[in-house]
């Protein structure tokens, strides 16, 4: 029974309210991710919304048109490209397909029939890259149906064109920027590759620097060095600021080192790819990099301020470890969301969650600046600064009060309330 006694003691020590909350938060993250992915799958199962311009009167374009009508929701069928794009934009459609006048004749002359696709890409998250696959599937169906038609009618078209009668000419309009000869998956892939590491790096920096502040407070309280510090001729504000700035310097060095590795990684990716996003105006300029840097700095400051505030409640080194869990959750939620979703295409609830968590802003900044969304980045910087200022002010207020050393004294009523959770 002595083994059981030790196990009971260990479990009792390890299962703390902090651990339970962190487990619940992690479960919540997975539920949210499941719902997000479920929503995307649901979207794929529905018929894709497209527009259609058919300038060809031939029998093969009729085959294509029939397949498209059977498998998609056509919200525009006319002759004007700009009008078609406007309608699709309004209806939340994915693409405008144009079948040119020489479509059928070209195929019968052993040339491929061209379908011009104008993609409307509203976001560049991994989730946004999934929706166009429904249209890709339509094109595949059209290609197969025309092949079958050619084979069924014993035409004399060569085998190569018979098997692949369709060629594509793509233009993607991504958040208002027109990119010729690039598909949404190519753009999404390149931008994701460039921006995917930032959330991970930010999460690592926040966790490590935040952990440092919390551990430092835990050690100060455990060794009673904090009591000594508080009786020295230095203001409480300077103690809080000193701790935050010290950790921020380490955090920035850390971020700098990680970013250097990331630049090397990016160069390797760019080197292998024959697509240069800079040619399409989808790259960051010097001002953008400065803004990303400011956003990173403000998020680190906000994170450290939050950890300093949490640190005032720390009793010792062990409780400091427990209090890193809320920070972990706050760093992981935006990391997962920004990896999968684009702020612009996220539901309002997700946008609110992303905005109020200050760590989200540098995670989103790079992507936002690629598309010149300066408002989001600047608003994020201002919000993070206000968040840090308010949090530091509360921490300084606690430093000036008795709460820092004696914590909260439980009254009888609070004790009774607390017992409900034991």
């Amino acid at each position: 029974m002595s083994l059981g006694n030790i196990v009971k003691k260990e479990v009792k020590e390890l299962i703390t309210p902090g651990i339970i909350i962190s487990m619940l938060v992690m479960a919540l993250i997975f539920v949210m991710m499941g719902q997000m992915i479920g929503g995307i799958e649901e979207g794929i199962r529905q018929k894709p919304v497209i527009g259609l311009i058919v300038n060809d009167n031939g029998e093969l374009s009729d085959v294509a048109e029939k397949i498209l009508y059977d498998n998609a929701t056509i919200v525009y069928n006319g002759t004007d490209v700009d009008e078609g794009l406007d309608v699709i934009e309004e209806e939340g459609g994915l693409a405008l397909l144009i079948i040119h006048s020489n479509f059928t004749s070209n195929i019968y002359n052993n040339k491929s029939g061209e379908i011009e696709i104008h993609w409307i890409m509203r976001g560049v998250g991994l989730a946004d890259a999934i929706s166009p696959t429904a249209v890709e599937w339509l094109i595949y169906l059209v290609n197969n149906s025309i092949s079958e038609y050619i084979i069924d009618h014993n035409t004399t078209i060569n085998s190569s064109v018979t098997l692949n009668p369709i060629s594509r000419n793509e233009t993607t309009i991504v958040k208002g920027i027109e990119t010729k000869n690039l598909s949404p998956s190519q753009i999404g892939g390149m931008i994701s590759a460039q921006t995917l590491m930032t959330p991970i790096i930010m999460m690592m920096v926040i966790l490590m620097t935040g952990g440092m502040v919390l551990s430092s407070m835990g050690m100060e309280k455990e060794n009673k060095t904090l009591e000594t510090l508080l009786t020295l001729p230095i203001s409480r504000g300077s103690i809080v600021a000193g701790k935050i700035i010290g950790s921020a310097v380490v955090g920035l060095v850390m971020a700098g080192i990680y970013m250097s590795g990331f630049v090397y990684y990016m160069n390797a990716i760019q080197g292998r790819s024959n697509i240069n996003l800079e040619d399409y105006g989808l790259a960051l300029g010097p001002l953008d990099y400065i803004l990303v840097g400011i956003s990173v700095f403000m998020a680190i400051m906000a994170g450290l301020a939050l950890c300093m505030l949490l640190g005032t409640f720390v009793k010792n080194f062990k409780s400091a470890q427990t209090l890193t869990f809320p920070v972990t959750a706050l760093a992981m939620i935006p990391m997962f969301i920004t990896m999968f979703m684009d702020f612009d295409t996220s539901p309002m609830s997700i946008q609110v969650i992303l905005f109020i968590i200050p760590f989200s802003h540098p995670m989103m900044a790079q992507r936002a600046l690629i598309f010149d969304n300066y408002l989001l980045v600047l608003a994020g910087i201002v919000y993070s600064a206000i968040f840090a200022f308010i949090t530091i002010s509360i921490a300084v207020w606690i430093f000036k009060s008795d709460k820092l050393l004696v914590g909260r004294i439980k009254t009888d009523e609070k004790k009774k309330f607390g017992k409900l959770f034991r």
Partner: protein, 241 residues
């Protein structure tokens, strides 16, 4: 001049009355002891005087500065040593003394403060070793040195010999006594202890504190005589009963 004047001091935490209407005075060049069992309110009283805790009611003045309204002035002239305090483990003893001395550089030459600290700590070449390698006695010597090297006008020492063996405890007591009697300008020491025998050796005057209240004040010899006791421990028992 009066070094410390505490008048009707009260500290409550919700319904708990940790310090209940205590009054006492510490004079210059005096070692004054707050003596009582664990949980009597000694540490709370010392923390209030050290500007760490807020006063519920009453007043405390250190060399004429009010604890509630002039904490910044008080922090310049006091030195507080908490019970079981530690030092930053990654620093060497010398670095730790330098770190503390830096806060007082406006008042004195920083090298002079550090030199004095090294002298009081008397850790020989071990002063250059990291604090994490120190024994409990060595760490306590370093902390006493930290508290006294700045020559505070009021040194507030909470259980200065707590947890130390007989030899180390005696050495620390010697350092405190030497400090109180040998500094150029007038200083005072306020200490707490639940070791009632050590205060006979160390303190000029004592206040016996129990359940947050001061139950008796006086010179150890006077109190022993008054209560016909052989030591302060017996005095305390007789007073409390």
């Amino acid at each position: 001049m009066v070094a410390l004047e505490v008048t009707n001091l009260v500290k409550t935490y919700g319904p708990l009355r940790a310090v209940n209407n205590i009054s006492f005075t510490v004079r210059e060049s005096e070692i004054f002891g707050l003596i009582g069992p664990n949980g009597a309110g000694k540490t709370t009283a010392l923390r209030i005087i050290s500007t760490l805790l807020k006063i519920t009611s009453g007043t405390a003045q250190v060399f004429g500065f009010d604890v509630a309204s002039q904490p910044k002035e008080i922090r310049k002239i006091i030195s507080y040593l908490p019970e079981d305090a530690g030092a930053y483990r990654n620093l060497t003893g010398r670095e730790y003394l330098k770190f503390i001395a830096t806060f007082f550089k406006r008042r004195k030459n920083i090298d002079k403060i550090i030199k004095k600290g090294i002298e009081i700590a008397d850790l020989k070449e071990r002063i250059n070793d990291k604090v994490e390698t120190y024994s409990k006695g060595m760490a306590r010597r370093l902390l006493i040195a930290r508290a006294l090297m700045i020559e505070p006008q009021l040194a507030i020492l909470d259980e200065p010999t707590s947890g130390l063996d007989v030899i180390n405890a005696q050495e620390i007591r010697g350092l405190i006594k030497q400090f109180a009697k040998s500094t150029e300008k007038d200083t005072a020491v306020l200490l707490s202890s639940h070791n009632m025998l050590e205060v006979e050796f160390l303190c000029d005057r004592i206040a016996l504190i129990n359940d947050g209240e001061i139950v008796e004040t006086g010179r150890p010899a006077q109190l022993m005589k008054k209560y016909k006791a052989n030591n302060i421990e017996e005095v305390f028992v007789k007073v409390v009963r």
